[in-house]
């Protein structure tokens, strides 16, 4: 694996074979990223604070409100997550349970928070690699911390793609419930 920004050092490949190079020219062209490292870093280190504060506020809210109970996986979540994945891939006809968040969602939404914490920790180790030299050492050194920070970002992109696909697939009532906080359910008993 080689990064990003001004110097394209990251790639996915084996030996001399490169499957994917970070980043292909079309990425730079599409987003007008070329030769804008300085500007990118200025944004990065201003919005890193917002990212950290937002993350802390979100976690604090889920704890205070008790919402964490819906989000953190329990002992049934793994089995359920597998079942959901099989169902979504059309490999199983067993419909996942209708709850606020199923097992697969619990794993996804909890790991994205852990990934966020990971981005803060690896980012700090890179950004202040002398003051937090012990942190960089803990993460396997400066270069390893860079790779970890980058892989987490790749993880966000993949999460985003799956998330959007699932929202589209789940349809309007689900999307509306995400925005409003309310879902219309059919009361079977009253029918």
């Amino acid at each position: 694996m080689l990064i990003y920004w001004a110097n394209d050092v990251y790639r996915v490949g084996w030996g001399s074979f490169t499957l994917f190079h970070f980043f292909p020219d079309w990425v730079y062209k599409t987003f007008h990223f070329g030769f804008r490292l300085a500007e990118g870093m200025a944004w990065h280190f201003a919005f890193a604070w917002l990212f950290a504060i937002n993350g802390v506020a979100y976690v604090a809210y889920t704890i205070v409100s008790g919402e964490w109970r819906y989000l953190v996986p329990n002992r049934n979540s793994l089995r359920e997550a597998i079942q959901v994945t099989l169902y979504d891939l059309h490999l199983s006809k067993t419909h996942p349970p209708r709850r606020k968040f199923n097992g697969a969602q619990q794993f996804a939404y909890t790991s994205i928070i852990l990934m966020g914490a990971g981005s803060l920790v690896t980012g700090l180790a890179i950004w202040k690699s002398v003051q937090f030299g012990w942190l960089a050492a803990l993460l396997g050194g400066y270069r390893a911390a860079r790779v970890e920070h980058f892989l987490l970002t790749v993880g966000y992109v993949l999460f985003f793609l799956v998330h959007i696909a699932q929202v589209i697939r789940a349809g309007w009532n689900n999307f509306r419930s995400m925005v409003t906080g309310y879902e219309v359910v059919v009361d079977e008993a009253a029918q």
């Binding site: 300085a38 200025a42 201003a46 202040k128 002398v130 003051q131 050194g141 400066y142 409003t180």
Partner: protein, 275 residues
């Protein structure tokens, strides 16, 4: 959620046929009430969400369109300055950069040739300017730098572009140089300016970083005299800063109470650029 609870079906008091009709009517009424309520909530939530999205996009557009301060929109330049002050206040001054084993040493790539266009002057001398205008600038030979205690360290040179390389450096501590040739010049809140002989490349350093025990005036790289492309005859090595601050081919060193100009900081980068 309390306002979302379905209207309870009417208690059965009438004969079965009437009862069924009443129940159906109640259910239909309930469905209509739910639809109305949900439509209201949907309108409200999407309106709030839409305004939030617009505000975010607006803030982004506003930030992007601000006047540039040394290559970046001024609010982001303030962000860089705030970060700098925060870390300068918060972090220990003499924490050391990681050092490596001789087996980790790599052969470094030359990167950047700003200020190195001319051939090296065989009569090169290092000019040293003090703060007080009355003082004559010093003019030092390489031998006078080499007369200072020689330090050898293996550190990682980290490029702001994303790569890094482990190198063995040999040279004199900047703090020893100051103690011998510029005593009394090191105002703790001041700055050091370094520039190439042609003034094509120049950096400014905060005094604490310049006096860091691993900051070297370096004349050897991986046990060999510096090559021209790596900054012969004398370069700066400052492991607590990004590579952009490790100026090659020093022509002049000056002490100052205000921030000296900095080549890359003028082109949008963080002035501090420190770890």
């Amino acid at each position: 959620m309390s306002d979302m609870e379905p209207v309870p079906p009417q208690a059965p008091e009438e004969p079965a046929a009437v009862d069924e009709a009443a129940a159906a009517k109640a259910a239909a009424d309930n469905d209509a009430a739910v639809d109305r309520e949900m439509a209201r909530k949907t309108r409200r939530s999407f309106l709030v969400g839409g305004i939030a999205a617009l505000a975010g996009t607006g803030a982004w557009a506003w930030l992007r369109s601000r006047r540039l301060d040394d290559g970046v929109p001024w609010p982001l330049r303030i962000g860089l300055r705030v970060n700098e002050q925060f870390w300068r206040d918060w972090t220990g001054r003499y924490r050391l950069a990681r050092t490596f084993a001789p087996s980790d040493v790599e052969s470094p790539r030359p990167n950047g040739s700003a200020g190195l266009d001319d051939d090296v002057d065989p009569d090169w001398k290092l000019a040293v300017d003090g703060i007080a205008d009355a003082e004559e600038p010093l003019s030092l030979t390489l031998a006078e730098i080499k007369a200072l205690p020689k330090i050898e360290i293996i550190t990682e040179l980290k490029c702001i572009e994303g790569w890094s390389t482990v190198v063995k450096w040999g040279g004199a501590r900047f703090q020893d140089f100051v103690a011998k040739y510029a005593p009394g010049q090191a105002n703790p809140n001041g700055y050091v300016a370094l520039e190439t002989p042609d003034r094509g490349y120049y950096v400014g350093l905060d005094m604490a970083s310049a006096l860091h025990p691993q900051t070297l005036l370096c004349y050897e790289m991986n046990d060999q005299p510096l090559t021209d492309e790596h900054g012969a005859p004398l370069r700066l090595v400052i492991p607590v800063k990004y590579g952009i601050k490790n100026l090659k081919r020093i022509g002049r060193i000056a002490f100052s109470n205000s921030r000296p100009p900095d080549y890359w900081a003028e082109r949008g980068y963080d002035y501090y650029a420190g770890f």
